[in-house]
Each structure stands twice: as C-alpha cells, then as structure tokens.
Symmetry: C2
Subunit: 770 residues, 2 copies
C-alpha cells in the first residue's frame, strides 16, 4: 500500500507535505497549534473539497500517519530539498512547492504561485520553528559553521612555556623529573593511614633531592634560594596536593618559623635536620577557639626564672592547638605560639620550640594529641589537635629574634608594642601567602588542561543531519572556560610579581607587600575554587569520576580559601591597609583633606567621563590596554575614596570604630577586590611588554584583553551606576568578549599545553591526547 | 626607674603621650609617617628646646621605649580617657590634653589651649587611624553595637514548619522517624564496598516501610501517591545522599520506567518485586559516547521475527552503557534504551527490560559489567558500565506503551515520529527532574542549618577591649548567608508548585511543565552547589572536617548539576521551549509580528519607565512586592524578545539554524534564567498570600523581599543597561539588602530550625545546640 497515493493523484498537495511532516515529526508543536493550522487549511478555497478533507485528515490526532508513512514523506521531501539551490532552501513553503513541481512537471506555475501566499501564512503561524525545521529537511550532510572550528596553535608552545617559567625553568625541570618518576604514581586507595605514609615517603624523596632545604642558608645544608623554594611548591602542585601541604608544613611553616623567628642557636640545632626531614615538626599557632583572631590565643608560656625555663600550658579544652599539620602522626617537635607570662604581666604572643614525641613516636609527658580525622581533602596530611599540660621547656627554646628574656629574667624586645611585635613576627611568615596561591593556581592549571582537552575531543550534538560537534565549539562552553584560561595566565604573572617583590623586600615596603600577598592569596584561591568547579561541571559526569582527578583537585584546594588566613578576613585587612596607603600617597594633606580633594578631582575629571568615551563602542577602543588600565584604576580609587568617606561619616557621628568598620565591611571587601584586580591587570600588561616573541605576545595580549574585559563585565553594574560607561558600551563589551572567547578557543589547547604539566601528573583518562 | 619621670617634670608633655603610644603600639604606621610627626614636633615653638629633644627622642626608631614603658603609658592614658565624658572621647588630642590637665592641676588652661592646634595638626596627619586608635584607648570594656545582635524568633517555629510541609507533613514525619533510628547512624568509614552494602540495607528498611513503592498503584503493593514519593525523596535527603540516589535509581528510575513505559504485563511481572527491593534494577540510558545527546545512543535492539525476540547489542566500546546506578553490584535487571532495528529500518530509541545477573549475582552470558570506581561523592551507589554482546530477550520484554512490534512483525506506534515518540517517552520520566532539585534543596537546608547555627555560636574578633562577637553579627557573614537562606525558602515554594503542576498535568500543559522542571532542576541544583560552597567557607576550617558533614553534602550533590540533564543544556531546552510558548501567548499573530508588537509595546511602555520610577529610591517602593514582580516580568519578556530577534536575524541572513542557536547560546541561557527567576518569585509571592499566621507571614515576606532584591542586585548590570533603573536606585537596593540581612539575622536560627531537620541527621558537632 502506497501511503502517498493521494498526493500523487493531486500533486499540488505535495506542497503541504513538508508542513505535515513537521507537524508530526517535531516534538515541540502543541495541540493548539495544530488546530491553528487546520483552521488555515479549512479556509483555503483553492483546493477541492475532497482534497481539503484529505488534508484535514492528515492533521487529525486521531488518525496519525504510521511511522513508516512518515518516513516515506521524509524521503520525498529530502529529494525535493536536495534539488533546490543553497540560497533557496529557506522555508518549508519553498521545499513544498518544489516538491509539487517535481511531481507534476506538466503543471503550470500559476496554481503553485497561488498556493504560495496561504502556505506562507501557515508557515508564519509556525514561526521560528519552521525556519529551523527547513534546515532539518535539507540534505543528509549538513555542515554548520559551528562544526568547523579546530584546535591549532598560533605560537610555539615551548616558547610560551619558557616565558611562563622564566628564570625558574631549571628548578621546575628538576621537580618535574622527580614527580614523573614511577615512585610518584598516585596513591589509588582510600585508606588514610597508608596515604599519610605514602606522602611522608614522597616528602623524604624530595628532601633527599635538596628541595626541602632550598630556602635555608647553605651553612645549614640549604640551597639559599627562596625563589626556587616557591617554584618547587608551585611545580609539586601539579602532583598530589597532600604532598604539597605536607612539604609546606615541614619545610615552610615549621622550618621557616625556626629560621625567621629563631636565632643562630636554633638554626644550628634544628635547620639541617628539618631540611632533611629527620626532624618532622609542626607549626602550632591556631587554636580551636581562635583561628582568624590569632592574637586571642590562650595557650600560655609562663617563665620560671629559678629554673630558667618556660611552662607551656593549655588553660582549657578549646584553647588546644587545632588543625596542626604533621601533628597526628609524624611531628616530633613544634613551634608553639603562646602568650608569654612573666610574673603578673602578659607580654603577648611569642613562639617556642616544644618537643612533642620521643624517638619512638610516643607523646611526651604532658602532651596530648588527637587526630582531626577525615577531611574533605588533603587526607595525606596528618592534622591533629594538641593540648599541653604544664610542659616545661628550657629557656633557650624561645624563638628569640624579636623578643627574649634577659639574664635577669626581664622581658626585652626591640619592638615595644606587643601588638606590633606580633604583626612583625607574622610578617616574616608572609611567604605562606605566596606559596598557597601559587599552589592553587597550579591546581587550576591542571583542571583547565583536563577540561579544555576534554572539551576539544568530546563531541555531543550537531546539526540534525550532520556530524557531532566538539563541545568546546559551543559558545556557552567557551564562555565558561576561556575567561578562566585568561585569568589563570593573568594570575600567573601577578603571583610572579608578588614573589619578586617579596624577594626584594625592604622594611619600608613590607606593609604593601603584606597587603598584596593577603589580597592575592584571597583572590587567587577563590579563582581556583570557582575555576575548578567550572572545570568539573564542564566535564559532566566524567568530571565526577575520581579517575579524572578533578575531585581531588577541587577538594584538596577547597581549604585554600580558608587557611593561611580566611579570604574574607584577608580582604578586609587589605582594605584597611589600602586606607593607610591611600593617606601616604598624599603625604602633605591629611586624610579628610584628601577625601575632599579626590571628591573634587572626581568631579572635574568628569570631563574624562565625557559622553564620547562613556558611549564609545568602537572595538579598537574596547580592546585598548590603556582603556582597561584607566577603568581598573578609576574603580579602585573611587571605591577606596567612598569607603574612607563612609567610615569617616560613621566615626563623626560618634559610632564606635569597630561598628564603623563592620557597617562598611561589605564595601571594604570590594576595596580589596578593586585593588587586587588592578594589580593583576597591570602586572599582566607589564609582563606583556617584556615579551619579544611576536606570536606569543599576540596570544598573551588576547588573554590580557579577555581578562580585563571579563572583569569589567563582572563589574558592569558598578561602572554603569557610576556613569563610567553607558549601556551601549557594556553591551558592546559583551560582544567583544564573545568574539575573544571564540578566537581563543583555537589556541586553547596550545595555551594549556604551554603550562607544561607532566602527562603522568595529569593522569586523567579524559585528558589523554587522542 | 620611672620611665615617665620626664613627663612628670613638665606635665604639658603628657599631651603627646597618646600619640606616642599610638606610634609605637600601632602596627600600621610606617617609617615615613613617623618622620612626618617628627617634623611637626620640630616646628613647635611652644615647647622648650630640652622638651623637644625629649619628644624627638621618643620618636627615634633607634631608641624605642621598652615594652614595660609602653605598658605604663597605656595605664596613664586609660586613666585620663576614663575621666572624659562619653561624647568627648573622640580624639587623641582630647585624651592627651586631659592627661596633661590631670597631671598638672595648677596649670592655666591657656598653655594647653595653645597646644591644641599643633597637636591637632599631628593627629590629622595620622588621619583615620587616629580616630580608631582613640577608641582603643577608651575604657577596658568597650561595648559596640555589633556585639548586641542576638538570635531570637519573631514567629512560632512549629507554625513555620507546618507551612513548609503542608499536606505532606504526615509522610515527612514517618520518614524522619525512620532515618532517626539508630540503625541509620551514618556510615563512618571510607571503604566503598562496605558503604554500598550499608546503603543497600538502608534501602531495604525503607522498602519494608512501603516507601519504595509509594508511587506505584495499590494493585502492585504500592501507596498510589506520587506526591508522597517526592516528599520521601526530599526528607531522606536530610540523611545520606547515596541512600537517596540508590533509592531513586531503584524505585524511581528503574521502577517508574517499567511503570510508565511498560504495560500491564510488565507491571504484573515486576512492579511488586521492585517496590520490595526483591528485584534490584537499573536504568540504562546514557552511553559513554552519548550523555546529553541521548538520541544519539548506539546500542541496538534488533528484532528477530522468527524467534519473536530482540537481540541487544553494543556495537563498540564507547557505546557501552555508562554510569549506570545499581549496575556495579546489585542490579539484576535493567531498562535498556536501544535503537530498535526491524529489517533495514531504524525505528529510533525504545526501551527494553534486559536481565543482567542470575540469582547468585553472576553476570549472564553476553553481559559484561565494569565498576565505574571511586567518585567525588555518592560512593554508596554502585555505578557501573554495561556492554551487551548479542543478548537475546523475549519480545514481551519491550516496554511497549508507546511503541510495539505487532504479531506480523511490523513496528506500530500511536506516535508517528521517532523523534516525538522519544521525547514523549522521556517526558514521562520528568519526575526525576523534580526529585533531584528537591533532594538538593534539602542538602542546602542542612548546610545552611549547620553554617547558621555555627555562625551564631562562633565568636571571633571584637572591639580592642571588648568581648568577641558571634561571626553572624558581621555584615559580610550576613551577606553570605542571609540571601541564601531567603533563596532556599523561595526554592522550597517553587518546587512545591512544580510538583503540584506535575501531579495535575494534562497533555496540553506537559510541554510547559517539562520546561519548568528542566529549568528549576538546573536553577535549584546550581543554587545548591553555590550555597553549600558558601556554607563550607563560612564555617572555615571546621567546615572542612568531615565530621561536620559539609564535605559530604557538597561532594554528593555536586553531580546534581550534571545528571538528570546537564544544567547548561537544560537551560537551553528551557529557552527553546520559551520561544515556542512565547508564540502561543499571541495565538493570532505570527512570531515576527510578535517581535514588532513587543518592540513597539516596549517603546510605548517606556512611560512605565519614566524617570520617577527608574529613580525611585523610596524603601517602601523598593520593598513592594508588585515592583519586584514587574521588574522580573519585564526582564523575562525583554530577554526573550531580544533572543527571538537575534535568532531571526541570523536565519534571515541565511545562517544554518544550528549555528544561529549556537551564536545566541549565551543569551539563551539567560532566557532560561529570567524565566525561572520569575517563576520562583511569583510562586513565593503566591505562597505568601496563603499564609494566615501574621508572624510567619511577616518573616516569610522579608525572605521574599530579600530573594527578589538579591536577584535584582545580581542582575543590576542588565537593569541599568536597559534603563529600567538608574544608579541611584540600584545603590538604594544594595542598602535595603544590607538592612534586610541585618534584620533576618535575628530570625536566622529560627528560620533554619523551621526546616525541622532531625538532629541525628545534621550530626555536625559545630551545629549542635549550645
């Protein structure tokens, strides 16, 4: 039985076939829409009564075509669609009329021309859907533009790697060689005890290579290079992050506290053994009751002049040391922070070396240690809680670089204020706030490498009759990953800059470096958390499987936003520091004068904010690096000024300063963000200037532009509120970002390959080269 | 030796003491600032040469005061500050002059008055910092406003709980009783095999209670209540989420696929045993090569008429079934989705019941199963991969509600199109997209309960000489958690509405319900992921410990954004559906007509956008529910119109429809968001209208306002771009949000307690009531 016989009897009816096919084949049309079409057919006087009955029957839900009949329609339609020239294949009506023409060659065109208008009415009732349907009815092999994007590389990957690594490339290479060794194959089990031992063994291998003592003086077996120490942390972070943190606790926190807070006697006694991992130790600062507010810790170190010793004591359960790395299993000693008490006087927080375990690993008398147990991540690190019950240590165990007890039992210090001494001590430990964001950034780079390689290989969906498309060709996928890729490059250069500033530090710029470290730590680790989440989701269910490592990367780094200073607290520190820096910049006028000055300046410089600029949507302007810099600087300055003004207003109204800062806290966090974003942008721009290779420079410039514009888009509400841009401009920025994402997509695989992460470290099956 | 003897010799000098104290005590002052003060002192002619030398000596970094000397200054200063009346304690100068006066009662005031001006110069050079310092020098016990906020409850908690639970309260109570049973104590170990067995045992307990078969007809041992089934899923989600997913796979996916896609013969054969967990099974749809694009799956079911059987086959490795819950260990059967082949014809995706294992748990011939291994979360669920090698099943095993093979071996279906049949089949499974966001929301509620209770109890920092403050009193902490709390209430009512629409569904509104389910699933699960991340960070290091459960909540729900439809893909489905709904609303004009109509309407309704409204910053207006509704609706309509316009433009230019949708993909996702946000808001507002208890209503209204304004703030860039609001208004919204957060903070603990999560399920030590 030929289902299409009626059509062949009156070939004009073929002109309806594409529409009918669509009605029955498309999942989206609703009953009410079918009714609509029936009504239109019903009103057509140019078809016979009989034909009309036939046509209406084809629209009756009670008499649907059979699956085979529908399939046969498609065969007919495709034949007609195939015979139309490319530019004509635009509508169902075109296809329908061609179909009628093919089946009735002897018909005059007039009848078909008459049919065109009412058919078009029907098609228009179907609207946009019919436009899409017409594409579906095209030839079998549709090739859409979306399919054509391919990975390529506009630059030499090795060249880019060497720009990223700079003068650290040699030590990076050494570390990569070690972590690619078969001994460093990932620990595959969930057993925490075994995992901790594995991490300890790995740490020992690294110590054997001299990596652990890299930052210590040569006299104590060290490498005398803090720069290389940071590069080691960063590169190790391509591997297991428990290893990185264990390494950082032992050689960074424990070793550096002895080095920076202690004096020669301590260096001689401990440093060599620490660097060789012969003396595993802890950094015992945080207490259960006091995390961010370290100044409030309650452990005491009471001086006993008679026996020239200190008694370390935990006054109550919640004053126990909390979350101390290396404590649960391996630590033999610890740098313990405690309030020094001499007689009746509290001299504030000082640091002491306190033995924890004997050579057999047993806790020493008065020392009680508990395991913190399972954590979200970093389970290869043995975090523990420590309580001290009147533990006596010799006087020499006080780390006495910034304060000591003299031979007469008097407290003495070159820094009079307990408060300032405390912050000076902490300041020497700012290195942790450099190492952590660099480690987090490496984890983000791993995540991006996995997600981008997968996105380039994974195909899903495509034109109805065409090949499936790599998911990285989809605009939303590009929008998810390309700005993150640009941001990871931006952060790389910003953290390099921070490291250099730290290495070159003087007393005078220490405050600025501390603020920058605090802010970049917060900003970069938040970027890591947000970025890895995006990478996980971009890999779908595959990203959820542990074998693809995104879970470990995410879970291990999740605490980075919290430790070495809670990010929200750090951003407020940054803001407070900016308020005082702000003052320094205008040395000759006082703060309140400055506020008036800046306010008036802002008004006059509204000429800078003239409509020609605030409305400028010229792509050349939008891509201009100076425009980006100005926009970031304007925002930074304006937010800072208004924060200062608000606080002043509250204080003038007699508000307690603590309340005034709390009232403006939300604003203060933005002060921190605006400052750090300006730093990151300008450092990226400065780094760009130093690149000589034109291909690399061009690719990096695109990343720099995308970073700048993505941030501006994120902050567009602010820019619009403040009249710095008008709506037309922010909309134009969105378009430019879309375009940059599309362009960067081609280089994306090359840009992640330039990170140079060892394949054995990436390990994810979905990231393996095809 | 009295360090202060010189001061006592010339008591005028005491007026400098507060400033000196600050210079040495404050950690923020820089060397350059000290120089500045020295210069000012140097220029003071009103002090003797000798005094000047003494004063300058006190500013010399080479001769700092001793710690004890500094302490003695503070004692003096506090005495003077204490004698000043409250309103005078404003500056260091005031304190200094009072100090001088106290120490030299016989001095005439004139000298001190002369001192005031130059001292004030110095203080102003110190700027804002000195203002803060003056507060620090106040009495020992500062009480700041920030300290005074306390938790209370403006409503009856039980009353609120019963509003939330509504008619489901009975089944919720039953489930809570079961999961609070000691048998349901959390599985404490990391061992995956044991964990899977524990979860299976728990599932069995639930089946024994009749929970598993709740949605099935009474004839097959069921409870005949889909509503209660969803309430069970939601309530179970306060407990272990592996249990929830295992439960959902067995009774929802496996059982409901048999129920909805099969016919009586299947119901009779399987349903009772499924509901009793005597027949554990799987839902085998996804393949390694095809996840989101299910239509592209490659497994085949070839009909053999001679033996009246189908042969199920996996054509190549990547066509294996992927990530199938219940497959790795427990599954005995599966609903397998495969392309039906009869002769040479492919009839598209259909569903078949295929046995996987024998009674001893051994894989049947031709069936190969692999374990997916460890995952980021949900490790109590045994996900596996399945490959079929020419597995023969009887003809009756085809789930034949929507398609079948007749006795002559012909394919037959009431739905002609393979495509439409496929979507109709999937449509019956939309329940999964209701259960998952409801489960995710429960997890978010658990997270919020933990974080808010902790924030209420945890104290950190405070005024320099005052008690520490609960961290929930800090504005940034409120800003992190209060909008999330409001959002969780909003989502609760929206998901209740969705459930009701699903229960009341007809063929005609099925498309709308599917779009709403897809969109709410995406929106709510993203809110869960984002919200739990915030909760984790808000609990700091404690949030990272597994004992506090935020890690499990986060990791278990992380995949919710990916399974039951990838969220980004779902949002595009929603947008496509909205484009066709959009058309339906204007049944009499075609789409392109509509675009012109809406565009012109938008222009004329710019009167609605008159400056009085776009600039209205009156709090009463900003808190007005109708204003919120209008703003959400305006955004929804405008984004949808512009998306339609863009796509049309691309198609008119001859772009392939696949490309046109890809080009506008980013915009399409926003269409989905704007639609869902409008649904969530209006459902919350509608629910509010039905609340009779005035206290609960008032608390809920605040949450509704905070939800609305938080979303508007998030979208403020869009509102400003489109001239719907001016900067003054968006800034005013920020202030109103801050105020709402502050007000909601007092009710916050009560609002999470109203979720009524069993304490044994919360389990986190940091969330226990103090």
């Amino acid at each position: 039985m030929n289902n299409n016989s009626r059509f062949h009897e009156n070939p004009y009816l073929f002109s309806f076939m594409p529409m009918f096919y669509m009605v029955w084949a498309d999942a989206i049309l609703t009953p009410s829409e079918i009714l609509k079409i029936r009504e239109l057919v019903d009103n057509q006087l140019w078809v016979t009564e009989e034909d009309r009955a036939f046509l209406l029957g084809k629209l009756d839900p009670k008499t649907p075509p059979s699956p085979d009949e529908l399939k046969s329609w498609l065969v007919e339609i495709r034949r007609a669609a195939g015979s139309l020239s490319a530019d004509m294949k635009k509508s169902l009506v075109d296809i329908g009329i061609e179909l009628a023409r093919l089946n009735a060659r002897n018909q005059d065109d007039k009848t078909l021309d008459e049919a065109r208008a009412p058919l078009t009415d029907i098609e228009e009732a179907l609207g946009i859907i019919s436009h899409e349907a017409a594409f579906h009815l095209r030839s079998q092999d549709r090739v859409a533009q979306t399919q054509s994007t391919r990975s390529s590389s506009s630059f030499e990957i090795d060249q880019m790697t060497s720009i990223l690594e700079g003068e650290e490339s040699e030590v990076i290479k050494r570390v990569k060689t070690i972590i690619s060794d078969p001994e460093f194959i990932y620990f595959p089990k969930q057993d925490v005890d075994e995992y901790r031992e594995q991490v300890f063994t790995w740490c020992k291998y690294l110590a054997d290579q001299g990596f652990g003592s890299m930052a210590y003086p040569k006299a104590y077996g060290g490498g005398d290079s803090i720069r290389d120490y940071f590069a080691i942390m960063e590169t190790l972070s391509y591997h297991d992050l428990s290893l990185v943190i264990k390494f950082g606790v032992q050689f960074g926190l424990w070793g550096m506290s002895v080095y920076f807070l202690g004096t020669e006697k301590h260096h001689k006694a401990y440093l060599k053994r620490i660097g060789a991992l012969e003396l595993p130790g802890c950094f015992a600062m945080t207490e259960t009751g006091h995390g961010s507010n370290v100044k409030g810790i309650e452990t005491t170190a009471t001086y006993d002049h008679e026996s020239a010793s200190f008694v370390i004591n935990t006054p109550h359960e919640a004053a126990g040391k909390e979350y101390i790395g290396n404590a649960a299993v391996h630590g033999k000693m610890a740098t313990v922070f405690a309030k020094l008490i001499i007689g009746d006087t509290d001299y504030g927080v000082n640091a002491f070396v306190v033995p924890l375990r004997d050579d057999h690993g047993h806790e020493l008398p008065g020392v009680r240690i508990a395991d913190c147990g399972h954590k979200m991540g970093l389970n290869g690190v043995d975090n523990g809680r420590i309580w001290f019950d009147q533990v006596r240590i010799p006087k020499d165990n006080m780390l006495d670089r910034f304060a000591s007890v003299d031979s007469s039992g008097q407290f003495t210090s070159p820094i009079a204020s307990d408060n300032r001494r405390f912050f000076t001590m902490l300041g020497t430990l700012v290195g942790g706030r450099i190492g952590i964001p660099r480690s987090g950034l490496s984890a983000l780079k791993s995540g991006l490498t996995i997600a981008i390689r997968y996105g380039d290989q994974r195909r899903q969906f495509g034109p109805e009759n065409g090949a499936e498309v790599p998911i990285l060709n989809y605009r939303t996928h590009q929008r998810r990953l390309m700005p993150l890729l640009a941001e990871s490059y931006a952060l790389h250069f910003a953290l390099k800059h921070l490291t250099q500033r730290f290495l070159d530090r003087t007393d005078d710029d220490m405050q600025e470096i501390e603020a920058m470290a605090a802010g970049l730590k917060a900003y970069a680790t938040w970027a890591t958390t947000r970025g890895l989440q995006e990478c996980r989701e971009a890999c779908g269910g595959k990203g959820y499987l542990s074998e693809n490592r995104l879970d470990r990367l995410k879970n291990d780094t999740d605490v980075y936003t919290t430790f070495e200073g809670d990010n929200t607290v750090l951003m407020q520190l940054v803001a407070k520091s900016r308020l005082s820096e702000f003052k320094k910049e205008f040395a000759d006028i006082n703060l309140f004068g400055i506020i008036n000055y800046v306010a008036s300046q802002a008004k006059t410089s509204l000429t800078e904010l003239n409509p020609i600029i605030t409305r400028n949507t010229d792509p050349e302007h939008l891509l201009d690096l100076d425009f980006h810099k100005s926009a970031f600087e304007y925002r930074e300055r304006d937010i800072l000024t208004s924060a200062a003004r608000r606080i002043k207003k509250h204080l003038d109204n007699g508000m307690d300063s603590f309340d005034a800062f709390n009232q403006t806290q939300y604003h203060m966090v933005n002060v921190g963000f605006a400052y750090i974003e300006r730093i990151v942008l300008t450092q990226f721009q400065d780094a760009l200037k130093k690149v000589s290779d034109p291909q690399c420079k061009s690719a990096l410039q695109k990343a720099c532009q995308l970073y700048a514009l993505s941030r501006m888009e994120k902050n567009k509400g602010w820019y619009l509120e403040h009249g710095y841009m008008e709506g037309a401009k922010t909309k134009a920025i969105r378009r430019v970002i879309n375009q940059l994402c599309l362009e960067m997509r081609e280089d994306a695989v090359a840009l992640v390959d330039a990170f140079g992460i060892p394949e054995s470290c990436l390990a994810a099956p979905i990231a393996m080269r095809s």
